[in-house]
């Protein structure tokens, strides 16, 4: 019953499912005349998301697009329950038909129960509510009822329908559950795009049959082990090489001799979730490398989350503010201390130099006097005394007076006596030298004082500025949770250190893995040679050699196909994204990671988390297009509120692009009236201000309008008018 052609939803039937009261009958979605876009229009709360839920419920018994206001509601329509009398049977049906011109699939979930008396309870505010109980995957039902599920999976290539027993298995073949979020899109998916993409690896592996290659490799390995076991105990040399080879393999797989995984029990791994239990990394080899890689991803994610929180706290700026404030608070006491020291030094200088400054005029006068007296020989005084004695002995004065005359001699002696009264002035001769020097350096000394004064003024100004900055920073930081910011930064630093340690360890593990692989291969060559030399083991040796080669070649295939798919997925996603997003210059690269998560880069910076809702939608659509392209898998696409959050230009682009975007893929758009019908204004490429409806008109297959009756709280499908 397999087919490789594009599948479309052919119809949907809802009976008493949530707000869809009564039997809708088959609502046709089957493509006609090559038109593949279906429109179901309804306003918020009128049941658009529950169409997405109904499809998911029918396929996977899940309702992932659930609005919180319905959490206490039974899955079966309330009116249908209320209309039934106690003991009456109530029936709910969700049925989907999908397929193509070659094969059709009909999937139905039918639930029936006999109505009991409804159990009521009173809530905390005194309101009476009907008690509801969740029953497994079936959904929520009025407490006390006993629902019976009748599910069926049928397929047909002509008139007759054939029924398959293992329903879930066949549904998963149609679309693996891991991929469903890429075919049933809603806002929540878009908001969680980065994490949701990670889950797609398993789905893509299934679609591309890479899982088949993985299983083959594992099965061949099992066969190898079986034959190796058979070779044991025949000769010592073979056993020795085999043991050595297995030791390296055990190290590479972190296993003990019993084949059990060995863990590094001394070093618990990082707690990855709140309240999570203690776990340990595998001790060695590739499992440890993988485990450490996961931890590294976790750390990177956490660092990113911390950065986001810091951004929310305006922390890049506030952190700078906090640092500056701390600096100022540290600096200010020192500045005040320096100011006090300067002032004190100035005073000390004044005390020391002040008298000379204040007595400058007197010193100048005295100095001049001393100089004058020196010039006329009156100084030094002691020299006068000697000079007078000499004159008296010579009995002749320098003026020519004869000093034989007593009176003349007496006059000289009296003059000398009078002048000796000024003998203290002798000290002035010595001081006079100092005075002269002082007067000579007076300007220089005075400039020291000026320097003190200007230094004090400058420092005071500096302090005043710091005080102003401090006040300003305190005012700015008032609205910010500074403690939280500090905690976040400290957490970030710790995580960054751990990240760096993990990176180093990963590099070491990689080197060790290479070394063990090399040694293992050498052992294998020796083991094979030893077996072939033993005639008893020749048969086993041939089989083992073939299986070893198959193991290697399948691993090469796995590696090449994975790389090819990933490269293609990455390139196609980028090509679609750039084409759709209309901002080729803003987003330089779209990078697909090993785990299939996507990164959008702008000049090397990861801007994935900065994408707008519209850009995220475009990224999701681009990825879906690329997945579809590489897998060759063609499942219809349903998008809830596909363009509501997008601004006018990308809305126009999407409107124009939808018909071409997945040219052979059915697209069911669940739209609001305004996003579908309102004119798009101010867009250069849409001069006539066409609405999305007008832009995609030629490709639209059917249009339905959801009619919601507020009074009855029920929705029915109606024609679009």
């Amino acid at each position: 019953m397999a087919d490789n052609k594009q599948r479309s939803f052919l119809s949907i039937r809802l009976k008493n499912y949530r707000q869809y009261y009564g039997d809708s009958g088959k609502i046709s979605l089957a493509p006609q005349d090559g038109k593949l876009i279906n429109i179901i229009q309804g306003e918020n709360g009128e049941g658009k998301s529950n169409i997405l839920n109904a499809m998911n419920y029918c396929l996977y018994q899940e309702e992932p697009h659930f609005k919180s206001q319905y959490s206490g509601m039974p899955i079966v329509n309330i009116r249908a329950i209320n209309d039934a009398a106690d003991g009456d049977e109530v029936e709910m049906i969700v049925e989907l038909e999908l397929g193509n011109e070659e094969i059709k699939y009909k999937i139905a979930r039918k639930i029936t129960f006999f109505k009991n008396k409804l159990i009521k309870q009173v809530d905390t505010e005194g309101r009476e509510t009907i008690s509801v109980t969740r029953i497994g995957n079936l959904g929520s039902f009025p407490t006390g009822v006993n629902p019976t599920a009748k599910n069926s999976f049928q397929w047909s290539t002509g008139k007759d329908w054939k029924t398959e027993v293992n329903m879930e298995h066949h549904i998963h073949k149609l679309l693996p559950p891991k991929l469903k979020s890429f075919f049933f899109l809603d806002g929540e998916f878009l908001d969680e795009i980065a994490s949701t993409f990670k889950g797609v690896k398993k789905g893509v592996d299934e679609l591309s049959q890479l899982n088949l290659v993985y299983i083959t490799i594992a099965d061949i390995k099992k066969m190898v082990t079986t034959y190796e076991r058979q070779s044991k105990g025949t000769d010592t040399e073979t056993d020795t090489y085999l043991n050595e080879k297995q030791n390296h393999e055990n190290w590479l797989e972190s296993k003990n001799l019993k084949g059990e995984t060995v863990y590094d029990k001394e070093n618990p791994g990082l707690k990855m979730e709140e309240g999570g239990s203690v776990w340990y990394h595998p001790k060695s080899g590739k499992p440890r490398e993988e485990s450490k890689k996961k931890e590294l991803d976790f750390l990177k994610q956490k660092i990113h989350e911390i950065d986001e929180q810091l951004q929310k706290n305006n922390s890049s700026v506030s952190q700078e503010w906090s640092i500056n404030l701390a600096k100022i608070e540290k600096l200010l006491p020192k500045k005040y201390e320096s100011l006090e020291e300067l002032k004190s030094n100035k005073i000390k200088y004044l005390v020391q130099e002040g008298p000379f400054v204040y007595l400058r005029e007197s010193v100048t006068f005295a100095s001049n006097l001393i100089d004058k007296k020196r010039k006329v020989g009156q100084l030094p005084v002691k020299q006068n005394e000697i000079f007078v004695k000499d004159l008296l002995e010579a009995e002749k004065c320098i003026c020519g007076t004869d000093l034989h005359d007593e009176k003349a001699r007496q006059n000289i002696i009296d003059w000398q006596k009078n002048s000796s009264k000024d003998s203290k002035l002798d000290a002035c001769v010595e001081i006079g030298v100092e005075f002269r020097n002082k007067l000579k350096n007076f300007k220089k000394d005075f400039s020291v004082l000026d320097k003190f004064r200007s230094d004090i003024i400058n420092l005071q100004e500096e302090i005043d500025n710091y005080e102003d900055d401090k006040k300003e920073l305190i005012a700015k930081l008032k609205g910010i949770d500074e403690i939280k910011v500090k905690e976040l930064f400290s957490e970030k630093t710790a995580k960054e250190e751990l990240r760096d340690e993990t990176l180093v360890e990963l590099a070491e593990i990689k080197t060790d893995i290479k070394s063990h692989e090399r040694e293992r291969n050498t052992c294998e060559v020796d083991y094979n040679r030893a077996m072939k030399n033993n005639s008893k083991l020749k048969g086993v040796a041939d089989k083992l050699e073939l299986l070893q080669k198959l193991h290697k070649t399948f691993n090469i295939v796995r590696h090449n196909v994975t790389k090819k798919f990933q490269d293609s997925l990455g390139e196609n996603t980028e090509a679609y994204f750039k084409k759709l997003v209309w901002k080729e210059t803003t987003f330089s690269d779209v990078v697909l990671q090993e785990d299939y998560s996507l990164k959008v880069l702008n000049d090397g910076y990861d801007v994935t988390h900065d994408l707008s809702s519209g850009e995220r939608l475009v990224l999701a659509l681009s990825f879906i297009a690329a997945v579809r392209q590489i897998s060759g898998y063609k499942f219809p696409l349903v998008i809830d509120t596909p363009i509501g959050k997008i601004s006018e230009t990308p809305k126009t682009n999407l409107g124009k692009f939808y018909p071409k975007y997945l040219a052979d893929t059915q697209l069911t758009l669940l739209v609001t009236g305004s996003e579908y019908e309102s004119n798009i204004v101010g867009v250069k490429d849409n001069p006539e201000n066409h609405s999305v409806r007008k832009l995609i008109k030629e490709s639209v297959n059917v249009e339905y309008k959801l009619n919601y009756n507020e009074k009855k709280k029920q929705t029915t499908f109606g024609d679009y008018t």
Binding site: S208, Q209, L212, T216, D219, M223, V557
Partner: protein, 61 residues
């Protein structure tokens, strides 16, 4: 269901004997059949062994 053409192409591109390529494809088809079947694991291990034995006997010398 048939084997994904990308995987087949990768096998064709390998630098190994054509008989080995054929064996690889045979193994994948075998795994594909196993995936959708309810046969027991033991039976498949035996079949795997036989497939290898047959290949060796057909391609020895």
């Amino acid at each position: 269901m048939s084997i994904n053409s990308d995987i087949e192409k990768e096998i064709d591109n390998l630098n190994i004997a054509s008989t080995e390529k054929a064996l690889m494809k045979k193994i994948l088809s075998f795994e594909l059949e196993k995936e959708g079947s309810t046969k027991g694991t033991k039976k498949y291990t035996e079949d795997y062994g036989k497939m290898i034995d047959t290949y060796i006997s057909e391609n020895s010398e």
